[in-house]
Structures are given as C-alpha cells and as structure tokens.
C-alpha cells in the first residue's frame, strides 16, 4: 500500500454527458476508445450519463430474458440494443447513474478482475453514504441490498483499454425491470437508492436530503479517485482539457 502511495497518481478527464441516447453514447465511447488505441499516451476518460429508456443485451445475448413481447416495447418506443459488453440483458433509464470509464488498464497495471471489483466498490460506497446496507452477493456480480439488485457492472476490453462500465439505480422508474429477468436471473427484484431511503425514512426518520444526480456524480468521482488512485479533472474545469475533449467528440 505504501508503495502505491508513492507512485504518481493516474489521471483521467471526467465528462458529464447529461441525458444522452444509449447509441449516441456508445458511438462516443467507441470514438474515444479508438483514439486511445491510436494514441496510447492520450488521457483516460470517464463518462457520466443518464440514458432515455432502453434495454441492452450483453455479448452473449439475453433476449430470452425479455418477459414481454417486442411489440409491447415498440408501442412504448423503447429500443433493444445489442452490445459487446459482458453480462446479460439490462435496462437503462432516466434516474439511473451510468459511468463509462475508458481507461488504459494495461498501461495502468489494473487487472480486469480488480477493475470490476473496484467499479462495484464505487457503487457500494455511494449507496452506503445514504445509510443503505449495500454489498456484494454470491448470486451474481453487481451490488445488492439484501435480495434486491441496486447496481450492475459490465465491461469490454480492447487492446487493454476498458469501455462500458457500471449503472446504479438512483431514482428511476423500476417498472421496466419487471419486463426482464435482469442479468439473466429470475426471481430477483430491483431496487434504487430512493426506494431504500424511503424504507429507512419510514423506520428511522432520517433527514430527507434531496437526492440529486450531482451528489451521485461527486460520489462517483471521489470513490473512483480513491479506489483506483486517480486524479480526476472535470472537463468543464479546464479549458485546455475541454478543447482536447471536443476534438475527440467532433
């Protein structure tokens, strides 16, 4: 540990994409990834985003875990997108905080197993800051509150660089999760920070602080930074970094 503290910090630029369509965010991830493959010294980037409602499939599918018809989703105007990340079917929607770290694991000597574990730890610590008893569960990866899943993880690695990432339920509409067997698991329920806080408020009369995406964003930055030993620059904090970022996005 002391050895690690003596090492210079790794660094990454943090970009808040706001509410952005899944496919457009994936295009942006792919562009940044390709740019990092072509320029191995370029900075790591961490994207923070909420998606409009969408179902996504893992590399090995998961459509068999859709428990309603495609027509039902068409009527609701919700797309299903095939991806190349690990894991099975999942749902994204407004009120869910999504983090896509596009980081050079190879260069930074972060093992894949260690990285997945660390992403789970970010979600666990974020939920725990709201007094929620969140933890890992032997059933499956991701983060759980008892038998309810609150956060998921699924990444891809290309030439040692990660993309895709984690999704933590803050206050999304949880109904669409009932239309799938999330992550390919049946008989599990899905929860959110808001839902768990309501339970706590009912029993412990906790102060009802507003639950904002900005709080979650700050928590993700803080814990990513400490878990992976990163110094993280928000892209709107530095005009120089922003310019570079825009070049990639263009």
């Amino acid at each position: 540990m002391s050895q690690r503290l003596n090492k210079p910090k790794r660094s990454a630029v943090f970009m808040d994409l706001g509410l952005l369509d899944y496919s457009r965010a994936l295009d942006l991830q792919t562009q940044i990834l390709q740019s990092k493959i072509d320029h191995p010294l370029s900075e790591d980037r961490i994207l923070f985003v909420e998606h409009p409602s969408v179902f996504t499939l893992g590399k090995r599918g998961g459509e068999e875990n859709l428990v309603i018809s495609r027509n039902f989703l068409t009527a609701k105007r919700i797309d299903i997108v095939q991806t190349n990340r690990g894991g099975n079917i999942t749902y994204h929607g407004p009120g869910q905080a999504v983090l896509y770290p596009i980081v050079n694991l190879e260069k930074n000597k972060i093992g894949v197993k260690e990285f997945v574990h660390g992403l789970e730890e970010i979600m666990k610590r974020t939920a725990m800051a709201f007094n929620i008893d969140a933890d890992r569960n032997l059933k499956n990866h991701g983060i759980w509150v008892g038998n309810s899943k609150i956060g998921s993880v699924g990444i891809s690695i290309k030439h040692g660089i990660s993309f895709h990432g984690l999704a933590l339920n803050i206050n999304p509409d949880l109904e669409p999760f009932s239309w799938i067997n999330p992550c390919g698991l049946s008989n599990i329920s899905i929860t959110s920070i808001e839902k768990e806080r309501r339970k706590l408020n009912a029993t412990e009369k906790l102060s009802d602080n507003d639950l904002s995406m900005d709080q979650i964003k700050d928590s993700f930055i803080k814990h990513f930074s400490s878990i992976f030993n990163y110094s993280i620059i928000k892209n709107n904090d530095s005009s120089k970094k922003t310019k570079k970022t825009k070049a990639v996005m263009a």
Binding site: K59, R60, G86, G111, V116, I155, S156, H159
Partner: protein, 132 residues
C-alpha cells in the same frame, strides 16, 4: 494478481504484447492466452472462437474471452488459417485459467509464413515488457 516471479511463462513459446502465446510444432502453430492474462482476467466463463477455415492476419482480433462481467478481445499472433479450435472450452472454459498452455489452448493455425514468429517476443523480452 500474481507477482512477476510467480508467473508461469514457459521458455519454449513466443509471446505477444497482448499476452497471447504461440508455439510452432511442425507446420502448425498452437495459440492461447498466457498465465499473466488468465490471472488478471479472473475466472473465465466463456470463450468465443473463430470457425475452422477462417483466415486472419497477424494482430487481428480472432475472438474474445469473457471473465466475470468483462469481455476481452484476443489477437492472433500469426497470419494464417484456423485448422482446429479447442472445443473442450465450450463446456470447460475454466481450463483457460487452470491449464492455459496445455488443455486450455484456444486455436491451431496453419501459418502463411512461419518467419512471422520472429516478430513475437521470447520469454526474457516479454518479461522486460511486463516490467516496463
């Protein structure tokens, strides 16, 4: 993760920068991922391999290894045609973790040009790269 000194890196295979290994026997090259790769991936749950007869150029992506919640691309160490894939991995992908140089091999390739093996690293060069 394993310490450098604990890594099992045989001296009779060649290595790529993406941590695959390749071994030429007769006119066929056997390919897999090495001990460093399997260790840092964690438990392998699925291996996606090409079809027999597919052809690739050196460095092309030829499949992927899925460990828990992570899909990692794998790259072919030598140009050529796939002549055999390790079908045992379908039921026992964990062989990639437990025996990556023997029962956990991935593919066999009939190389276009065996001199491409010279572009790969021997054990000392690969270790230097890891330490780099």
């Amino acid at each position: 993760m394993k310490e450098m000194s604990d890594l099992n890196l045989p001296a009779d295979v060649k290595y790529t920068k993406d941590h695959e290994w390749a071994k030429l026997s007769g006119d066929i090259v056997t390919i897999g991922i090495n001990d460093y790769a399997q260790d840092q991936l964690g438990e392998v749950v699925f291996v996606e391999l090409p079809e027999i007869g597919d052809t690739f150029s050196q460095g092309d992506e030829f499949g992927s290894v899925e460990s828990v919640k992570a899909v990692s691309e794998i790259y072919i160490p030598i140009s050529g045609e796939i002549v055999e894939i390790n079908e045992g991995l379908e039921d026992a992908p964990e062989l990639v973790n437990t025996d990556c140089y023997n029962d956990g091999w991935l593919i066999k390739v009939k190389p276009e040009n065996t001199s491409e093996m010279d572009n790969l690293m021997d054990k000392p060069a690969y270790l230097d790269m890891l330490k780099g």
